[in-house]
């Protein structure tokens, strides 16, 4: 196996809140190999956004990193000075945001935003525009030269998200972070964007860290998947393995709740009973114990380690 382009090692992040220390991420390990698409799935509040913010070092002011490292091409991002980090952002690490309606500047034309973002290059304006046009074409926008003169409010959501993706890929980054890029789009557009991302990934060869709570999208797009729950990884492995033979009770329940899997007509969608544990006052043992139906005595006292080689699970019962 080649050296990972991004290697998150034993990362722990917490927020300083009025109630005490909120431990948002605990001992996270995610290696991302070059050119792979890794999906992170989990419900709201499981730490997905904190994880992204930690990678691009734009954590909220009350957040602190309690330990671990984030190695990008073997440099620890957490040890870089702010200027060096800024030089990486948008060049080596790019990002696509959730809501394309707000992620573009409303008072600048698409062309101006796409040339502005190349300010680090010493090229002529015409060359920058040509590059912007080429990229718009590659993300599947018809008549790209014409779109450059438009303002974001002239474009539809799908178009804007394509523009955002084009902007993120402008510098051919080694890592693209996509934070629920399809959540705000309707289903047909979602499929289009996903296929386009796959295509672009093959063309550009970048690794993609794809965050979503939509299991179907993850299954369609990702090579590997990481299932997070309450700030911990509960299961990780090749997408195929995790989806076909889920081991952790949480993953199983999550899959059962996927509306796409429901075969009989029903009035009530399945839910996972209970709620997330309090991250300020963490219970001992397994974090999923209170919502789990296979828990044993050991689960209450000892936190299960994440183990299992290529397909890891953190569960005392089903892990072995």
């Amino acid at each position: 196996m080649t050296a990972p382009v991004l290697d998150i090692r034993d990362l722990s992040v917490s927020y300083d809140t009025d109630r005490g220390l909120l431990r948002a991420l605990r001992n996270i390990n995610i290696p991302i190999s070059p050119g792979r698409i890794v999906g992170i799935v989990g419900e709201s509040g499981c730490g997905k956004s904190t994880l992204i913010s930690a990678i691009i070092r734009l954590l909220a002011p009350n957040a602190q990193i309690d330990g671990g490292s984030i190695l990008f091409k073997e440099n620890d991002l957490l040890a870089l000075d702010p200027e060096a980090m800024r030089a990486l952002r948008g060049v080596e690490i790019s990002m696509v945001f959730q809501d394309p309606m707000t992620s573009l500047n409303p008072v600048m034309t698409i062309g101006r935003q796409m040339t502005d973002i190349q300010y680090r290059d010493n090229r002529s304006k015409a060359e920058k525009l040509a590059r912007a046009t080429r990229l718009l074409e590659r993300v599947g926008i018809a008549d790209p030269a014409e779109q450059l003169n438009r303002y974001p409010h002239h474009l539809s959501g799908g178009m804007r998200q394509r523009v955002a993706i084009a902007m993120a890929l402008m510098t051919e980054p080694a890592l693209l972070i996509a934070d629920e890029p399809t959540t705000a789009l309707d289903a047909t557009l979602e499929v289009q964007i996903i296929h386009r991302l796959q295509q672009l990934q093959r063309d550009f060869g970048c690794a993609i860290l794809f965050i979503s709570h939509h299991l179907g999208v993850i299954a369609e797009l990702c090579d590997e998947v990481v299932v997070m729950y309450a700030g911990e990884i509960v299961e990780s492995g090749a997408t195929r393995d995790v989806f076909l033979t889920p081991r952790h009770p949480y993953t199983r329940k999550l899959l059962e709740c996927d509306p796409a899997r429901i075969e009989k007509a029903t009035r009530n969608l399945p839910v996972i009973a209970g709620k997330l544990p309090d991250l300020v006052d963490l219970p001992d043992g397994c974090v999923f114990r209170t919502r789990c139906d296979v828990s044993i005595e050991l689960c209450a006292s000892e936190r299960p380690p994440l183990e299992g080689g290529d397909h890891c699970t953190a569960c005392h019962v089903t892990g072995q």
């Binding site: 800024r86 948008g90 959730q98 992620s103 573009l104 500047n105 014409e146 303002y151 002239h154």
Partner: protein
């Protein structure tokens, strides 16, 4: 912004469809031209005293009559416009720039700086403007520069607070976060993303502030706290005329009408601009 090609032309095209806005623009242009070319347009020297012709009604020689010292009122009104617009231009551009800078600092900077600046803004704004002006004039004496200074100091907090609020609203927008994630520096974000987004409302505000500033200058001059005699100012024309109202109403009329015109002109123009530049109303399809 000049960086957006076609925006000026587009704005002007929309303005032509709004009769009140167009009227405002015409008044603004006429007042501006009359003030700029005051020395060419004025039939007499505004300071030329001729006591034999005092307090005349309009004649072919003196279109708006003469004041208590026999000076030509029309010439004084034209030159008074110069003073009024000079005060407006200098005071608004300086306070707008300073307000912009301080407001962005407060809105984008660390919390302690924000708190400190807001306390300063609120302290300044808590003085009634006229009281503040009286105090300053009592300290350093009446002059045109004092008037400008007072207006600048009292206007900065107004602009700064608006800029601060707008900056705070924008700094949490996704596109600003996206820029950050793309490696943009703070200066770059402020210059290329925050500033263009708050420029339109600020320009509208500035244009609507012109009458307020002109009125302020006239008010202070009327009270004898502004421009020193014999320099003509609309306020001092009103003050002179007011003492001799029973003898001739013409100086009061001549001093009052330009004030009303400037107020109406800039207000109509500003309101029309606001309607045109408001992004929520500007959702026409097609490339601009």
């Amino acid at each position: 912004m000049s960086t957006r090609p076609g925006v000026l032309a587009e704005t002007f095209a929309s303005l032509r469809k709004d009769p009140l806005g167009m009227l405002g623009l015409v008044i603004v242009v006429v007042v501006l031209l009359a003030s700029i070319f005051a020395s060419q347009l004025a039939p007499h020297d505004p300071l030329d005293v001729n006591v034999y012709n005092r307090l005349q009604s309009p004649t072919w020689q003196h279109w708006l009559g003469t004041d208590q010292l026999g000076r030509d009122v029309l010439s004084r009104v034209l030159f008074g416009g110069r003073i009024a617009l000079k005060v407006a231009l200098v005071a608004i551009s300086v306070s707008l720039s300073a307000g912009l800078l301080l407001g962005m600092l407060a809105g984008f900077g660390p919390t302690w700086l924000d708190r400190l600046l807001v306390v300063c803004f609120d302290t300044l704004r808590s003085f009634p403007t006229i009281m503040f002006a009286l105090a300053i004039v009592a300290l350093i004496g009446p002059s045109l520069n004092t008037v400008i200074g007072v207006i600048i100091i009292t206007s900065i907090p107004v602009y700064a607070r608006i800029v601060r609020t707008q900056t705070q609203a924008l700094r949490n927008q996704d596109f600003v976060l996206a820029e950050r994630a793309m490696g943009a520096s703070t200066a770059r974000i402020l210059r290329d993303h925050i500033l263009p987004n708050i420029a339109a409302p600020l320009l509208i505000l500035a244009s609507m502030d012109v009458p307020a500033v002109v009125g302020m200058e006239a008010g202070l001059s009327f009270l004898g706290l502004g421009v020193n005699p014999p320099t003509p100012s609309w306020g001092s024309i009103l003050n002179d005329g007011y003492s001799y109202l029973r003898n001739s109403p013409w100086p009061i009329i001549a001093g009052g009408i330009p004030l009303i015109l400037v107020t109406l002109g800039f207000t109509f123009f500003g309101e029309s601009l606001r309607d045109i530049l408001d992004p929520k109303l500007r959702k026409k399809g097609g490339a601009s």
